[in-house]
Amino acid sequence: MFTWIEWLADQLIFGLLGLAPDTHLGAALQFFVYDTVKILLLLFFITFIMGIVNAYFPVERLRSFLQRNRLFGLEYLLASIFGAVTPFCSCSSVPLFIGFVRGGIPIGVTFAFLITSPLVNEVALALFLGMFGLETTLIYAGSGILLGAVGGWVLGRLGVERYLSDWVQKMAEQPVMTGDFEEDGQTFRQRLPGITQEALSIVRGVLLYVIVGIGIGAAMHGYVPEGFFEQYLGGGQWWTVPLAVILAVPMYANAAGIVPVIQVFVAKGIPLGTAIAFMMGTIGLSLPEATLLKKVMTMKLILIFFGVVTTFIILSGLLFNLIL
């Protein structure tokens, strides 16, 4: 499927620039061009598909569906899946959170959405698909969605409503029933230009991160020897997983910048579970997100929220290292 991109990169680097394939620079540059083109194409394709899904199943529809149906626990999974397919924008997480709570959606279900939304997003999926292949991508997406559902359920069981900010609690006491979701009646043909534009603007928005991330990855590939991290950071000792996650949580990096670097970690000997857990900690939880949530939650709830999610990320990393 991607052989033509490889051909293109070969022509450009080895042909046009005249670099030899067996030099560090030549190999690194070829790798860089090939990965960048491949990932940008995948990113466009995935955001485009998600755009179509979202045009027909916007979050408003999820909310009205959850209000009207009893799902016996499946609502956590549903909210989590929705979190994954909705393009993530940190600025929307707060309005969405309040909108759900106010619509009478249980707080645990709301959290399920909130956990998965940054964790499994279009950029992370495109990068994973391009750098690790389909199987690892499915493992990542599946475990992210499951983690969101379980984490949301646990937070719901902890009865954390009382730790919401006062004004949010007041809003939750007077729930508004939103009516059935109304279609806006546009045809697919009318929607297509908007969806395409949106996909292109997402690709443009992360272009720089992709290039920088792949650039760093390509440089590391060429220069870091095999087994380097294994030697210095330890191979598969259990404590490397919690350490990686705890380091990762306060950091925030765009998935586009972090996946190429993680791919090098894995190629040079870090276990996949540790790498995935590190990645989840970086993009799923961050200090900027905590600052945003401060508007709707007390510090205590933010700590509980981060604590629960961090614990589950560590557990899934450990589990992956055991079974993969």
Partner: protein
């Protein structure tokens, strides 16, 4: 005169929306008062789930995305 409110907590998309709205109003020479609403409690009065949103004369017309020039013009002329 129309009152246009742009709801958003200050993310890139919200700024983009403000720019698009200002340009559309200027291009049409429309008589409009453009306000930026950034306080989350005020934003939530409009019962939306995602920002940015554009409110014209207290009716939410666009939510969760950056509008394009053509649809804004249609809304402003209405």
């Amino acid at each position: 005169m129309k009152t246009i409110k742009i709801l958003g907590t200050g993310c890139p998309k919200c700024k983009q929306t403000e720019a698009v709205v200002r340009k559309a109003v200027a291009d049409l020479g429309a008589d409009a008062d453009i306000q930026k609403v950034e306080d989350i409690q005020d934003i939530m009065q409009y019962n939306i789930l995602s920002t940015p949103a554009v409110v014209i004369d207290e009716v939410v017309q666009i939510k969760g995305r950056v509008p394009n020039a053509a649809e804004l013009e249609a809304l402003l002329k209405a």
